[in-house]
Symmetry: C2
Subunit: 344 residues, 2 copies
């Protein structure tokens, strides 16, 4: 098979200046034979940014997405130029597996992304996050695809007392069904690697933010303040402190690691090296929206919702050892993300 390291190493990233400008600049695509990548959830928030990067790097890209949380508007320019193959499919239905036949790499991002929702309908989250992963693994194994990248989450750690939390932390006790389905998926991926010799990179993400997102604290605050610029309801006591990473940096990390990871089953934390509390995020959002005198109303309690982990900061020493590091911290990432969301 072709050497992944030759054509990976994402060249699409944000150029974060001191003032927080957000420019994407591209280096020329590699000149090796095109790789064929499958991106499940490729019409979604992170997935569509990944597709941008792969297309620009001259990959053949097949996107599989049911457009339940994402949408083709995130891929419009690639659809217009026929740069990608798009399959509108639910992974729990059939009709997409044959597209794996010639693939070199599967990036499995498709998932129900909302931690809060997972307490309301566990069976839907289990089906869309875990069962879908089992089906992706089965197709990848059937077609002999050598490598899979999987987007997991910091929520697999639950309320970890060790902060920053390293990949070696245990025992893992996710406190949300969302986190559990991601850990369950990790487990099956590990078994497929151990049993059939597949390579896998599992990415445990901090909070990823930026353009095209349609949930999460930044998006939520903007929607609320657009409806009512005088008041802002904040879930919890506002002191929940977490690590945030802008989506371009996230995709950069994924592709950097996918090209440099050792073989076998590998787990990597991806995030910023600091955290920011929810009240500070509210301050950034109101400032970026040009609002003043906004009254904050806290719903109270240490957690914003059932399954919320109030303190999250990941150790990223492992990914740094592979040569990737975040260029900006959580506060600046929030600012960049909020500007991108406001400009959309």
């Amino acid at each position: 098979m072709r050497n992944l390291t030759l054509s990976l190493g994402c060249s699409v990233h944000a150029n974060y200046g001191l003032a927080g400008e957000h420019k994407s600049h591209y280096i020329p695509p590699s000149t090796v034979l095109p790789m064929h990548g499958i991106v499940t959830g490729g019409a979604g928030f992170i997935g569509s940014h990944l597709v941008d990067c792969l297309v620009h790097n001259n990959w053949d890209v097949t996107v599989i997405d049911d457009c339940r949380t994402g949408g083709t508007h995130n891929l419009q320019r690639h659809l217009d130029t026929r740069a990608i193959t798009f399959l509108k499919k639910d992974l729990n239905d059939d009709g997409w597996q044959e597209s794996f036949r010639s693939a070199d790499h599967v990036f499995h991002l498709a998932a129900d992304p909302d931690v809060k929702e997972s307490a309301r309908d566990p069976s839907a989250t289990i089906r869309n996050n875990f069962t879908a992963t089992v089906r992706v693994l089965e197709a990848a194994h059937h077609h002999g695809i050598p490598a899979i990248a999987f987007t997991s989450t910091s929520t697999v750690y639950g309320d970890a007392p060790v902060i920053p939390t390293p990949e070696t932390y245990g025992p893992l006790a996710p406190i949300s069904v969302y986190g559990a389905t991601k850990l369950a998926s990790e487990a099956l991926i590990a078994a497929y690697c151990g049993t059939w010799g597949m390579d896998a990179q599992v990415f445990r993400f901090a909070n990823i933010i930026g353009s095209r997102s349609n949930h999460g604290v930044c998006w939520d605050f903007i929607q609320k303040l657009r409806r009512d610029p005088g008041h802002l309801e904040i879930l919890g006591d506002g002191r929940q402190a977490k690590s945030y990473l802008e989506v371009h940096a996230c995709v950069d990390a994924m592709l950097h690691v996918s090209g440099k990871s050792p073989p076998g089953y590998q787990v990597f934390n991806i995030g910023s090296e600091d955290w920011v509390d929810v009240r500070s995020i509210a301050d950034i959002v109101t400032r970026e929206m040009g609002l003043s005198g906004v009254e904050y109303r806290f719903s109270g309690g240490a957690r914003g919702w059932v399954g919320d982990v109030p303190r999250m900061l990941l150790s990223i020493e492992k990914v740094k050892a592979l040569g990737w590091h975040p260029r900006i911290g959580s506060q600046e990432s929030i600012r960049v993300a909020v500007r991108a969301l406001l400009e959309a």
Copy 2:
């Protein structure tokens, strides 16, 4: 709800003398109001020993088992005396959930137990180990059952380089589908505890051996030597070294911990403090069977089968801190188990 610690603390255990005799002796049952325990997989190897213990301690016991790997012969005396309620049901079908209505504790043991088989039919192992657990959790949550005990496995650790392996070891990378489904189940249990306030004791077992087992190395060697007393095929190079625990000690540990565990989601390794290699097990089995001059034929390789973990020893410091410790080591456990299997 009634105080579990009053009526638990298993009093059924083997009395291991120096010569390795295997006698069960019972202390009188407790005098508090009977607890109602659900035992899924209660007609199986470990489950039926657990039922013995619960019945003797004056519990009301409901067994749910589809008798695919276990059988009612393991529960005959309790069925004859109407000491238990038995539901022959597959957890993936309906018709058993109503029995959870009055239960105080669920012991969820039902599973496809064979690591080897899980590579042949992953979807069956996923359905019977993971999906069944989801359904048990849903029923327990629906009926407000406060506590669940779950039998997990050392195979969640995969090829852990840290030996003895503590519960805090990570990242967990099971190399078999069996281990993955158990880890996936652990994850969902943690989420149910975190989301709905359930208590759980998760037991990661070393190799459990003894009477009523119908798979595993001791059982396997006995079957092979009964067919051909002159030769013994040994999977792998015979140097795989693992920790073994006799089933009475295992059940004793489960009930001891269930009565003393802190609240919330708790994980406990259960095993012996030493290991024994496969060649030594063969020596014990042949000696106990009175055979001599048996020719060993090794299939070769460090692993006995796909997904086999060649070295496994669990740290049991956590369960020892709760006051339980194994009375005999792995070699003696093998001897006791082999004698019990030969006497059956």
